[in-house]
């Protein structure tokens, strides 16, 4: 094999030293500034864990309870810190347990470096104990993967791995290292971070003429609408984005992964896009004259029916990944590049504007939605609590400063719709893959990625039971996460669809829960469970004030639905308020 990293500025150490492949892995971690590793040891990765033992003062290793928990923790870490998550797992089942997390990180563009152990090279292909073809299993769900069978390759390949994971559109990288390579002694001449791979173009060339054309189009626009996604956060371009929309008074709506890039209370923040998004941005997508997409990929949950999506509008698409432009929605002007660079170029060329009449339309829509949906959701008059009022109460206590990690389902949509955010990188959720079981381990990782911030995992009664074993990780390391279970005693989102589209045939959505407070107690996690509104505020406050991990279960309405809703196969402008 041949890998080329050119223009190396090799900081070779005075003379080569003989170390094992495993120690070279540790040196790579240190050189890359890794502080936290989530992992689980096993036979084929034991030499690496043996080396880690000598580095345990410099590298914090969190022993998870399942490799899926490990990789979701790595994702949570990456999302809250803006750094690369690192995960260790052994061969065979250890490696296959990573697959869901890899797929999740791939579709949500999360930078990860996963190291898996592998059987001795001479045993490859012999069906050896705990041997599995992890490279071929993970190829479709990794940005890059590579198997190392010779320790001499370790420094260069790990340097490439970290570079590929983090640069351009980020993604997960998996490096599989055979046990012989981990044990092998070789002459280590130093670690050189990678900054160029000839076959890899992380950033497309910015085309000035397209930026100019885009600015011209924005200047002509009477009803412009900006859609922003996670690209703004990944590009660390939150300020550039804010300046851009403020200068031209552009209303901006977010995708679920773009959430928190712009503060909730910003006057130009017009809400959430997509299936359970806000009324205004969905409806007015089909009325705007210029649609400016920034770091988002027109997912089907955002666009609804494509042939009736923004057909009246000219489309400007800013993205770092050229393959996203024209993939789902044809762009009139493609602005390829890192939005950290392209947004300021655009801002320079656009004219100041206010678009007051157009903005008023969004406010009118908000008023309509407030009356039809939001009022009852946040301030219900019925006896039974709603998910929305829990989030509303939580907002009042956190003031929008907490990191909210959500799982998948109704509670996720409600939390994303109503949670307040002041800071970027505060909303962590499984957006593209929709992985139930994501939130609990991701919250653990998020806490390590942002140790001084409050981390609240909001989870349904279905999702919590998928990765509940991570209570063990929380117990062992006393990880200060607040676990808020919104229990509607159903797999709520599936039940909602069965109600609306399958004549209420509730097929296997009636899920029973254990006594979560008792389960938590078994793991030395304090907890409480409430059913009545009068206890809500005090219970939430107690949870937030508690030092260390805490579980709060809130029973909410069994058959509440999330609205508005764009039914599958419908246009965004056919959004239903009830």
């Amino acid at each position: 094999m041949e890998t080329k990293t050119l223009n190396k500025q090799t900081e070779s150490i005075n003379q080569a030293i003989e170390i094992t492949g495993s120690e070279a892995v540790m040196k790579a971690m240190i050189a890359e500034g890794v502080e936290t590793i989530f992992g689980y040891p096993g036979g084929a990765i034991m030499p690496i864990y043996d080396a880690l033992y000598d580095y345990r003062d410099q590298l914090e290793h969190i022993l998870v309870r399942h490799e899926q928990g490990g990789i979701h923790a790595g994702q949570g870490y990456a999302r809250s810190s803006g750094r690369t998550g690192v995960v260790f797992a052994t061969s065979g089942p250890g490696a296959t347990n990573l697959v869901t997390g890899l797929a999740d990180a791939m579709i949500d563009s999360t930078p990860l470096v996963c190291i898996t152990g592998q059987v001795f090279a001479h045993l490859l292909g012999t069906d050896a104990f705990q041997e599995t073809d992890v490279i071929n299993i993970t190829t479709p769900v990794t940005k890059w993967n590579y198997q190392i069978t010779d320790a001499n390759e370790i420094p260069e390949i790990l340097a490439k791995a970290f570079y590929i994971a983090k640069s351009g559109r980020p993604g997960p990288v998996l490096i599989d290292i055979t046990k012989n390579a981990q044990l092998q002694k070789f002459n280590f001449t130093g670690y050189t971070p990678c900054n160029h791979i000839r076959s890899y173009r992380p950033k497309p060339i910015v085309r000035k003429e397209y930026v100019e054309a885009a600015a011209e189009m924005i200047n002509q626009a009477v009803k412009p609408l900006v859609l922003f996604g996670q690209g703004v956060i990944l590009g660390k371009a939150e300020n550039e984005f804010k300046t851009f929309i403020e200068k031209a008074g552009l209303p901006a709506a977010w995708t679920i992964l773009g959430l928190s890039a712009l503060p909730t209370d910003h006057p130009l923040n017009v809400g959430m896009l997509g299936m359970h998004g806000n009324y205004g941005p969905n409806l007015l997508t089909n009325e705007c004259d210029v649609l400016i997409a920034v770091g988002m990929r027109f997912d089907d949950r955002v666009t609804g029916r494509l042939d009736k999506y923004a057909k009246q509008a000219k489309i400007i698409h800013l993205d770092i990944d050229p393959s996203e432009v024209d993939k789902n929605v044809k762009a009139d002007i493609p602005v390829w590049g890192d939005c950290k660079e392209t947004l300021p170029m655009l801002t320079n060329l656009i004219k100041s504007n206010k678009h007051e009449a157009w903005l008023k339309k969004f406010n009118d829509c908000t008023a309509k939605e407030q009356e039809a949906v939001i009022q009852d959701e946040l301030h219900p008059t019925g006896e039974i609590m709603t998910m929305g009022e829990v989030i509303d109460q939580l907002n009042q206590l956190t003031k929008g400063d907490a990191i909210i990690v959500t799982d998948v389902g109704q509670h996720q949509m409600v939390a994303c719709r109503y949670a307040h955010f002041n800071k970027s990188k505060s909303n962590i959720t499984s957006g593209g893959l929709g992985t139930m079981g994501f939130a609990l381990p991701a919250a653990i990782g998020a806490k390590y990625g942002a140790k001084d911030r409050t981390v609240i995992a909001i989870i349904g009664d279905g999702g919590i039971q998928m990765t509940i074993q991570e209570f063990g990780t929380i117990m062992q390391d006393n990880v200060d996460v607040k676990i808020l279970i919104l229990n509607n005693q159903f797999l709520g989102m599936v039940r909602q669809w069965q109600q609306l589209f399958h004549e209420k045939r509730y097929s296997f959505v009636d899920i029973k829960s254990p006594d979560y407070v008792t389960v938590a107690k078994g793991y030395s996690i304090e907890g409480n469970s409430i059913k009545e509104r009068k206890n809500l505020k005090a219970a939430l406050k107690k949870m937030l004030d508690h030092k260390g991990p805490y579980l709060l279960e809130v029973f909410v309405g069994k058959e509440n639905n999330v609205f508005p809703m764009v039914p599958q196969g419908c246009s965004v402008s056919e959004i239903r308020l009830k």
Binding site: K4, H196, S199, I205, K208, E209, D321, S323
Partner: protein, 195 residues
């Protein structure tokens, strides 16, 4: 409209890349009509030639996804008009019939076939050409007892291509070469760079 497209991919010579490229087609349920890998004009750079039958919209998106792969340098797609292409075919026929029937010999010559091996029991002919030509020869030989037939994947040269030597220099630059910087790009230059 569906039609035949030939995809040409320049890649690093990397174990596992064949899978990475093959699954891009299978994931989208696209049948690969022919796939060939070979060295390219540049040492260390591999060249894939893949033929699929799809619409232009599909092939354009697919090529962008292929080019996104870390170990892929560049990917192109072309219609059959834009390339020169050939396939190689081998035919095994009983030597007896050929010896007996002069007509066969004549036919083979007419189709540009050449004997590679002549044994007592069989003779192997080889021909290169386009799909229709090699197909026709099968039909022609069938009545004379065609024992075995095999055809290679398509190899193709893009008529307009200037090859990869110059292109590679751009890829090897750590910083974008000057003419790739935004301020120096004219629309004409941009169009040229796209190719």
């Amino acid at each position: 409209m569906k039609q035949e497209y030939t995809i040409t991919i320049y890649t690093e010579n990397q174990v596992g890349l064949l899978t990475r490229i093959a699954i891009m087609f299978s994931r989208r349920k696209i049948n690969v009509e022919s796939m060939n890998t070979s060295p390219s004009e540049v040492e260390g750079i591999h060249r894939f030639t893949i033929v699929i039958n799809v619409t232009e919209d599909v092939v354009r998106k697919l090529v962008r996804q292929i080019e996104k792969q870390v170990d892929v340098l560049k990917a192109y797609y072309n219609t059959n008009d834009e390339i020169i292409w050939q396939e190689l075919a081998l035919y095994k026929v009983p030597t007896e019939t050929i010896a007996e029937k002069a007509k066969v010999e004549r036919l083979l010559r007419a189709y540009g076939a050449r004997a590679v091996v002549i044994r007592k029991d069989y003779t192997i002919f080889e021909t290169t050409g386009q799909r229709e030509e090699t197909d026709t020869l099968i039909n022609v030989l069938a009545p004379f007892g065609l024992i075995e037939f095999v055809r290679s994947a398509r190899v193709a040269i893009i008529k307009d291509s200037k090859g990869f030597h110059e292109k590679l220099k751009e890829f090897e630059e750590t910083e974008p070469v000057k003419h790739l910087l935004a301020e120096d790009i004219t629309p004409e230059k941009a169009a040229e760079l796209e190719n």
